[in-house]
């Protein structure tokens, strides 16, 4: 594992994630014909949250205090597994793509565990809904990822991207659709942000405050960024540098940033234009995408 590359990747993602969120808020504001907060506003918010004192419910357990850290730890490790700018991620071995799925899922799961540990029944509602969405989301994600690995004959993200860059195929293009929906789902955007349905119930994060809330939100943003990066590189596996020392590296980083902002822009436009689903509709609307993801596995086997 290349430590320097790991550190660079970590630093990049940790810096960029809140900025992406700020950019999203700006775009949404513009669509709604207002000026909106500055792009760095999310950073200011997180720093402010870190400065505030936490208020803990009296019925909470210790897991409630620890889970934001655990969740963030898992998200950060997930950062090391995806490539950013280079062809090979810092941590790469056979089966790392499955590890990625697991880390992201564990991060969300720990968020849910921690919120129920706070003892508020609304957290229970939020956790139940969030995990319902996650179940379907995992179906879509697993189908797509397995398609990619079947198609490229490998379970390492680096090799997958390398093989994809040679020629696009129908199977992988079809697999991108459920993956895109999953990334949309995980970034908590409007049609599907059931567990953060603020006007309805506050959702999972109802009892978190102060530093814990900051960490949870930050962890969420990092997860979204990681998934967005994955989506970008699976859709656009070209123009990646060989390593962080090559001269092409800054260009590929700029390309990465551009694509990230583009993706965020598209997502935010969708976000502002649509209304939130009811939980039943949300679940029923996701089922076709699961079918599409399994269909793409079959297509990959057929070699199409």
């Amino acid at each position: 594992m290349d430590l320097i590359e790991a550190l660079i990747n970590l630093a990049l993602v940790m810096l960029i994630a809140p900025i992406l969120d700020g950019f999203a808020r700006k775009v949404r504001a513009r669509i709604q014909c207002r000026i909106g907060p500055p792009i760095l506003q999310t950073w200011y918010d997180i720093i402010k949250l870190f400065k505030k004192r936490d208020i803990d419910p009296e019925v909470s357990g210790k897991l409630y205090s620890i889970s934001p850290y655990l969740s963030l730890a898992f998200s950060l490790i997930a950062v090391l597994i995806i490539p950013i700018g280079c062809r090979e991620p810092p941590l790469s071995f056979t089966g790392d793509v499955l590890l990625l799925i697991y880390l992201l899922a564990s991060s969300s799961l720990l968020m849910a565990f921690g919120s129920t540990a706070s003892g508020n029944p609304f957290s229970g509602i939020g956790a139940s809904r969030m995990l319902s969405m996650m179940i379907l989301g995992e179906g879509m994600l697993a189908g797509s990822i397995i398609t990619f690995s079947v198609f490229s004959g490998s379970l390492r993200i680096g090799s997958v991207i390398k093989i994809l860059s040679t020629s696009p195929h129908l199977a992988t293009t079809v697999a991108l659709i459920p993956l895109a929906v999953f990334v949309y789902l995980e970034s908590e955007r409007v049609p599907l942000d059931i567990h953060e349905a603020e006007p309805e119930i506050i959702g999972l994060l109802v009892e978190f405050s102060g530093r814990k809330l900051g960490l949870m939100k930050y962890s969420l943003m990092i997860r979204s960024t990681v998934l967005a990066t994955l989506l970008i590189y699976l859709a656009f596996p070209w123009w990646l540098a060989d390593s962080y020392t090559s001269p092409f590296y800054p260009i590929s980083i700029i390309l990465w940033l551009l694509l990230l902002f583009l993706l965020t822009f598209i997502f935010t436009v969708l976000d502002s234009s649509l209304a939130r689903y009811r939980i039943n509709n949300a679940i029923e609307s996701l089922v076709p995408f699961i079918c599409i993801s399994f269909l793409s596995i079959v297509l990959a086997f057929l070699g199409v």
Binding site: G61, G119, P121, I202, S209, V287
Partner: protein
């Protein structure tokens, strides 16, 4: 090899002694201590047998031996049995019938130990049957209750049909052995006989053995006894049943299908399909349970699905010629067996702790026990996270290994699809375990309870510690498991290299290691926590109820995941459209078991016609039959 026989003697001694002790408390203590000691010796025997590969031949054809496969299972039985016995020292205080418990428990342990050691088919069936009978007696421990009796009866009938199938298959093989002149019923002679059998007969044997073993393992078409029997039994017995009895079926499957009989591709496919169905249905049904032990029972079905997926994948890969990948798949299946035994036993013991203190299994009526039962809550949390596959704990390693193997076997198209389904099921596992843990341990407390006694916590703590250790250092379990591939004819070195360089903690070129990741996550977590504790702790306040007055409102366990149930209505066969409060359990029995039962009843009723309750009539009929036989014989000769 003497170590291997001491536990047998000890357990028999325990069984006999429990008959004579009247005092409840002394009997309880004695039985559980003896069993704990024997389990410790069983684990030691496993380790010794693994190192020296010993064999014993007793008279009457009782051949026993500990090879790597048996050794792994011995060690698992030792660890689980030890923890459960220590736990039971205090847990059994809520029950009364100590002598009943003493005899059945010791013979259950003895039978399970002997099943994984014998090398002779006759004794194997004998001990299998002994295991079934003693576990039945333990399941109906509270036989005053109607539903316990019914659950036990269902368990009894279904497992005995399985045993009948196994006996038939063994007899077919034995007949072939006789025809070929091979003496004895040991596994090796059956093995040689099976190679001389005509193919259709061999396939019938495969099918019969599969039915027999799948019933015991609790895999989906034949699992319907499981969700009734596990809640009915006392919690330590459920832990033992789920943690080891189902695994003996896995052991038997591996022993029969890989070592004794020639490998067959379609058996592997059958195992895989059974695994897929178990994963799916186990998870889906577990989502909506309100009874804590029933939820864990369905979770056992689901995990058995994973195990069968691994083992079946191994079988199919073996049969297609991919030896190395196949043995990795089997190692993954066996590793998940070990891990599942550990965390499922832990979960059942935690459910038992809750029952010990509150007497309730209904999660709607429980809640908020975490503050008062802090240690139990933590251990249950470790169990839940382990079962969900969170990376630092052991469930993750085996699940990851199973997914990697199945996703890499591109020649068998169904396997990557199974991997995708398995990942989805993994999310469902996390979901229902969250429901389990949070319904019982979080929220506002429902009543005043005290923490559980030390012995119960010790038992659970041993299991939790093994979960954590195996999570960080999986090589501890994987190196012995990799040795099993030596039995299967694959060079051990290749398999070990494939398995362990990915997973070995301190390896020569250990760049790409999962353990390194988990340790890294620990370190980063630790750093963040130290940064955290530089600040004062937050102030306490009431939970936020969106502006309303705080009340005793709780999110009930029965409301979790209702939407998923509505969306997947079709999967809950037999349930009405939207079930608000009473969730009707889907009944696979309707399709699989009931037709047979009805036909059987009709046939039996036909036989009942001449019997009208008068013994004179029976006598007359018997005598006429006798005359008939004598006449026929006389006429023939």
């Amino acid at each position: 090899m003497v170590i291997a026989l001491i536990p047998c003697a000890l357990l028999v001694f325990g069984a006999l002694i429990s008959l004579f002790i009247r005092d409840k408390w002394i009997c309880n203590l004695l039985i559980n201590s003896i069993t704990a000691l024997s389990c410790f010796l069983i684990a030691a025997a496993g380790v010794e047998g693994f190192l020296t590969k010993a064999e014993i031949s007793l008279p009457l054809d009782l051949e026993m031996g500990i090879d790597p496969l048996s050794a792994v299972f011995c060690i698992v039985l030792g660890v689980i049995g030890f923890s459960i016995s220590i736990y039971s020292i205090k847990y059994m205080e809520i029950y009364d019938k100590m002598r009943y418990y003493g005899i059945c428990y010791t013979s259950f342990m003895l039978a399970m130990y002997l099943v994984i050691i014998v090398r002779n088919a006759f004794w194997f069936i004998l001990f299998w049957e002994m295991m079934t009978l003693s576990s039945y007696l333990l399941v109906v421990y509270e036989h005053e209750k109607e539903e316990v009796r019914r659950a036990g009866f269902k368990y009894f009938v279904m497992t005995h049909i399985g045993v009948a199938c196994i006996i038939t298959a063994v007899l077919l093989l034995y007949q072939q052995a006789n025809l070929a002149g091979i003496p004895g019923m040991s596994f090796s002679s059956l093995s040689s006989a099976s190679r001389l059998m005509p193919p259709y007969l061999l396939h019938i044997c495969y099918l019969l053995l599969l039915i027999g073993f799948l019933v015991k393992a609790g895999a989906v078409p034949l699992h319907s006894w499981l969700p009734d029997a596990y809640p009915a039994a006392p919690s330590n017995i459920s832990a033992l049943l789920s943690g080891f009895t189902a695994k003996t079926a896995v052991y038997a499957t591996i022993r029969m299908f890989f070592i004794v009989l020639p490998v067959d591709f379609w058996c592997g496919i059958l195992l895989i399909s059974s695994g897929l169905l178990s994963m799916f249905f186990g998870g889906i049904y577990a989502l909506r349970q309100v009874d804590s032990k029933r939820l864990l029972a369905y979770s056992s079905v689901e995990n058995m699905g994973y195990i069968l997926l691994g083992v079946g994948a191994g079988l199919s890969l073996f049969a297609s010629g991919k030896g190395v990948l196949g043995s990795i798949a089997i190692s993954a299946g066996i590793l998940h067996t070990v891990n599942h035994a550990l965390f499922k036993a832990l979960l059942f013991l935690s459910a038992g702790s809750v029952i010990y203190r509150t007497g309730r299994r209904n999660m709607d009526l429980l809640g908020g026990l975490g503050k008062q039962m802090g240690v139990t809550s933590l251990l249950a949390l470790i169990g839940s996270l382990s079962a969900s596959g969170v990376p630092v704990l052991n469930g993750f390693v085996s699940k990851w290994l199973i997914y990697s193997v199945t996703a890499s076997s591109w020649e068998i198209p169904i396997l990557p699809i199974c991997a995708a389904v398995a990942v989805m099921m993994s999310a469902i596992t996390g979901a229902f375990l969250l429901k389990y843990w949070s319904s019982i341990f979080t929220g506002r407390p429902v009543e005043e309870v005290k923490e559980c006694p030390k012995q119960m916590i010790t038992g659970e703590a041993i299991l939790a510690a093994s979960c954590i250790i195996l999570g960080i250092y999986p090589a501890l379990a994987l190196s012995p498991i990799a040795e099993i591939s030596g039995e299967l004819g694959i060079p051990i070195g290749v398999v070990k290299e494939q398995l362990l360089t990915g997973i070995f903690l301190i390896g020569p070129v250990a760049v790409s290691t999962i353990s390194l990741i988990t340790v890294f996550s620990f370190l980063s977590l630790f750093l963040l926590l130290t940064v955290a504790f530089l600040r004062p702790i937050g102030i306490r306040a009431e939970p936020w109820f969106c502006g309303a007055r705080p009340s005793d409102l709780r999110y009930q366990a029965s409301s979790y995941y209702r939407n998923i149930e509505e969306a997947m209505r079709a999967a809950y066969i037999g349930a009405p459209g939207i079930s608000l409060r009473i969730y009707k359990e889907p009944n696979t029995d309707r399709f699989l078991v009931s037709p047979f039962v009805r036909a059987f009843k009709r046939i039996s009723r036909a036989f009942l016609l001449p019997a009208m309750g008068y013994i004179q009539l029976y006598l007359a009929l018997m005598f006429l039959a006798l005359l008939l036989i004598v006449g026929v014989i006389a006429w023939i000769s």
